[in-house]
């Protein structure tokens, strides 16, 4: 042995260390490092109970590890940390970091353990006189800290799941906000266009109405003149023609007035900045205008019997409102509800149907939620998207301008609020308005 150089001894020591470590982590066959283990091997494993004082205990430790690792696919990475050769090349102190990657059906963990080994040449053979394993976690009887790390992994996975769900939710919110924005942009540009057209149409419409009105006056004057000449077949004929003429002129005036009303409603759209926002007793406004809408409906041509239920939050603080505009919202929505419910009463199979309008307010944080709910025929999916578009109407002929909900939408928007519809065809329609209590400008 005396011919062996220091460098050669170093290589042999390193080899002994390497074989021992691979044995420790069950990376190699047991027989590969068996010669390195003396009867009185002494060392510490990575857990408190892993105090080894003899060869038998050491073998037991290896068996236990082999059992644990048989359940996992394991890969190793060796990183040398420290090395010192002492005693003229007969003793080596080695420290090595082992990165393990354990993967099973239940878990997948990555962690590092550090193994310090003292190898000495004893009686012509390399033996491990001391070893020590350490890991950066506290663990009682789990060499590879699978449970501990698995727990951490599960916690992390749980957190990732939660985060992912949060992200999904906010993505969904973003999407719906974007959709709303697009709809609002569309409505805004339509509103502007409508207002522009309205102004251009207003003047010609005024002429139509004024001249038809004048012409009706003329017909009346001609009749008076006609009375002054003796009655004959001709006067009877003229009189009949005058009646026809007058009835046509009245039609012109009637439809002109109708167009004028549409134009006026359209101009309401673009009319801005005239109302004043002020703290308002919303409950008071609601009961006043729901009542007004009800009596308006009852006084109208096609009155229905409807139950009215008010459920107003007594703790509602004053809400910043432009009362003139907002009362229109209440009137519009109530009128729509009555119209819808009337339609349902007309169906022959609906004899036992009782219209029911429910209006509620609710204080919710810095917002107030206002619901106007009817048990009418609901809104089919196919038209729900178009509901707030100007000129969209399901009402026949002269009954609606198609501007009510569009104006309602704009007014709520100008209050910094939102309006949403919840509906089940055949069952109900709920309009849900959310308003900020204080205006932030």
């Amino acid at each position: 042995m005396s011919e062996i150089t220091f460098a050669e001894k170093t290589i042999l020591l390193r080899d002994a260390n390497d074989r021992f470590i691979r044995l420790c982590i069950n990376e190699t066959n047991r027989s590969e490092g068996d010669d390195l283990i003396p009867a009185d091997i002494m060392g510490y494993g990575t857990t408190i109970d892993e105090l080894i004082t003899n060869r038998k205990e050491f073998i037991q430790l290896l068996d236990r590890q082999a059992e644990e690792m048989s359940k996992s696919i394991v890969s190793f990475e060796h990183i040398p940390v420290f090395e010192r050769i002492l005693n003229d090349g007969d003793t080596g102190i080695f420290v090595r970091e082992i990165l393990l990657d354990l993967k099973s059906d239940d878990y997948h963990v990555n962690f590092g353990i550090r193994i310090s080994v003292i190898v000495s040449l004893i009686d012509g053979a390399y033996k491990v006189v001391h070893w020590h394993g350490s890991a950066p976690v506290m663990s009682e009887n789990d060499t590879f800290h699978v449970k501990d790390i698995q727990g951490k992994t599960e916690k992390l996975e749980q957190q990732v799941k939660e985060r992912t769900a949060e992200l999904h939710a906010s993505l969904e919110k973003l999407r719906s906000a974007q959709e709303q924005l697009i709809v609002q942009e569309k409505l805004a540009s339509l509103g502007q266009l409508a207002a522009g057209i309205a102004h251009e149409i207003k003047n010609p419409m005024n002429f139509v109405n004024n001249f038809s009105e004048l012409s009706i006056e003329y017909v009346e004057e001609i009749r008076i003149e006609l009375m002054k000449i003796p009655a004959s077949d001709q006067t009877v004929e003229i009189s009949g023609l005058l009646n026809e003429l007058e009835s046509n002129l009245k039609k012109i005036h009637q439809h002109g007035t109708r167009a004028d009303n549409i134009v006026k409603s359209m101009l309401m759209h673009s009319r801005g900045g005239t109302g004043v926002m002020e703290p308002t007793n919303l409950n008071g406004l609601m009961s006043e205008y729901v009542n007004l809408a009800f009596h308006g409906m009852r006084a109208g041509k096609s009155a229905i019997n409807s139950k009215i239920t008010l459920d107003l939050d007594p703790h509602l603080p004053p809400v910043s409102l432009n009362t003139e505009d907002f009362s229109r919202v209440v009137l519009n929505l109530c009128k729509n509800a009555f119209d819808a419910m009337r339609e349902k009463t007309l169906k022959p199979e609906m004899e036992s149907y009782l219209p029911d309008l429910r209006v509620s307010t609710k204080h919710s944080g810095d917002q107030v939620v206002l619901t106007i709910a009817d048990n009418g025929p609901g809104v089919p999916d196919s038209i729900r998207q178009k509901l707030f578009e100007p000129f969209f109407t399901t009402k026949k002929g002269t009954e609606g301008t198609g501007l009510g909900l569009s104006i309602t939408h704009d007014i709520i928007k100008s209050h910094g609020g939102t309006i949403q519809i919840e509906t089940v065809p055949g069952e109900y329609t709920h309009f849900i308005i959310t308003l900020p209590i204080k205006q932030t400008k």
Partner: protein, 124 residues
């Protein structure tokens, strides 16, 4: 009493002449028409002092607007009454008209009854 109506819509003349046909027939009032601000000023300057006692002007007109005409008429002929007639009854137009010396502000569609009342008060 001579009244000047200023509006870029020519049919306004026909409408006013028919609406006031009785008053015109009875020679209670005389109506003249101008279809722009310039035309209106030229018409007012024809006679000195002008025969027109009351000007009713539209606001939205090509060229000189009704509000500009109002200021010019008030500067040159402060004794003539000027009232505005506009489809744009917003507060900006209203405030500017009144502060420039407009007597009244009528919105379109014109309520001819109130217009007649206004004219008879001036005559009175």
């Amino acid at each position: 009493m001579k009244i000047l109506i200023v509006d870029d819509e020519k049919d306004v003349e026909m409408l006013f002449r028919q609406k006031f046909r009785k008053e015109i027939k009875n020679k209670e009032i005389e109506m003249v028409f101008a279809f722009s601000g310039d035309e209106a000023l030229a018409l007012l300057e024809e006679a000195d002092p002008p025969e027109v006692m009351y000007v009713f002007s539209d606001i939205n007109m090509p060229g000189m607007t009704g509000l500009e005409l109002l200021e010019k008429v008030k500067a040159r002929f402060p004794m003539i009454n000027v009232s505005m007639i506009s489809a744009y009854g917003d507060s900006d137009n209203y405030n500017r008209a009144i502060s420039s010396g407009a007597k009244e502000f009528f919105t379109k569609p014109i309520d001819f009854e109130s217009l007649k009342k206004e004219i008879s008060e001036i005559k009175g």
